[in-house]
């Protein structure tokens, strides 16, 4: 006798059609990590108080710990695993790695996806705009400064002003 029956949904995950079945009271965070084995999305509190679990849903950054897995149906979800283009890292991933914006790296997936959303909306953001866009992501290691620098360099690369 099953404790609860699983619900089955279809959605686009990192550009691919995906199906998954899971206990219906699970959040998207739990479904990604536990039912889809994508452990790149992290958790710091599961209450929406740190931004660590950020993923993109239809291009918009949200807190996967507060979104039901069921709500992913027919949506387009992007996690850190889908940020690179095949073997080619996204410029943000390159600059975060090169500039020391990832120390312990635990908050990095969340920051990277929110930064990607920012650069999509605002290709030449000011420092203040970057700070504001990232104000919902906590980091305890870097003091944020190298994160801003990585975002600014990636923005310049994407605009074609800097070599990759």
């Amino acid at each position: 006798m099953p404790r609860h029956s699983k619900k089955h949904i279809r959605f686009r995950l990192n550009g691919e059609e995906t199906e998954v079945a899971f206990a219906p009271h699970k959040t998207l965070l739990e479904v990604l990590r536990e039912d889809l084995n994508l452990t790149g999305t992290k958790h710091g509190c599961e209450l929406g108080e740190c931004g660590t679990c950020a993923v993109l849903v239809d291009g918009r950054s949200i807190l996967s710990c507060l979104m039901l897995g069921l709500e992913a149906e027919n949506r387009e979800i992007k996690t850190i695993e889908g940020m690179a283009d095949g073997a080619q890292l996204h410029p943000l991933q390159q600059t975060f790695a090169d500039l020391g914006a990832a120390q312990c790296g635990y908050c990095s997936p969340g920051f990277l996806l929110v930064a990607e959303e920012l650069l999509h909306k605002s290709p030449n953001p000011t420092r203040a705009e970057i700070q504001e866009a990232l104000s919902g992501n906590l980091c305890r290691c870097t003091g944020y400064i190298k994160i801003y620098e990585a975002v600014e360099l990636a923005a310049a690369i994407i605009r074609g002003e800097q070599p990759v």
């Binding site: 609860h4 206990a23 219906p24 009271h25 699970k26 959040t27 739990e30 958790h43 509190c45 599961e46 209450l47 929406g48 108080e49 931004g51 950020a54 918009r60 950054s61 949200i62 807190l63 507060l66 979104m67 039901l68 069921l70 709500e71 929110v114 504001e132 866009a133 104000s135 919902g136 992501n137």
Partner: protein, 326 residues
Amino acid sequence: MMRLPKFEYFTPQTIAEAVKIMGEAGPVGQFVAGGTDLYPNMKRRQQMPKTVISVMRLAELHQITGDGTSGLRIGASVILTDVCDHPIINRDYPVVAKAARTISTPLLRNMGTIGGNLLLDTRCNYYDQNYEWRKGINFCLKKDGDVCWVAPGSSKCWAVQSSDLVPVMVAIGAKLRFVSTLGERVIDAAGLYNDDGIDYLHKRPDELLVDIQLPPTNGWRASYQKLRRRGAFDFPVLGVAAWLAIDNTDVKDARIVLGGIAPSPLEIKEAANALIGKPFSDDQIHAAAEAAYVRARPLDNTDFVYQWRKKMARQYTLHALRDLQT
């Protein structure tokens, strides 16, 4: 990990369907919009609805119609980020966009809704805690206990109204429309809130908030000042919404509403009286700020020391009013 308890989830496509499911669910039913208030509470076992009904697929609740001339109608399920970015809201009702921009973080604003923010659960350091923690203090009046720990002698719950948009809506005279299986009603925003941390809304649980009607902007301006420890995440531990109707140089009408300081938004009539019928000048502004200070009675159940928060009622009312001096 903190996880949700088990529940049944419904995603109705029409208002009629939504209120019907809610009617059938009875006391174990609850509406949910973005989930940013309900789901943390469920994970901490503060709220345990067995039937959760999403209002996010109700097309009518996503509309924004009108403008500052005729009045603006905002559907309750409009995402907060869209409120912050909407060109007409920014042009005609900048105080609403500005206040919305102070809510929590960009991530949360991408999920939360204006309706959800207006119906936000009241908050308290003794209540917004995990189940085990609350067990350690024998629970509290608001949930599973008999005593309000912040005011043990009181028979009332002192959980705090913690929304940024609530004092703004009350101050500018917004109206709220509710629909249920028993019909529809429209009330002033001020009429929704009750000065009790437990029964903080004059609304039946089965009533669905459908939209918010903002009045035409002719002849008034408003501002909002928020006090919180950090520039993101934090709820207001004091919010001052100031609304003035000015005729040439004299103040025709005024409303000063404090949020984050009591179980309901606190309208300071004495502050308004200090302004109405007089020129909008520094003396009047100081008198209004003083009146706000006198009426503000915060308790020790939020961030910061409550005596200091009371003093800030004066400072932040001053700021909110100075913002309206052109």
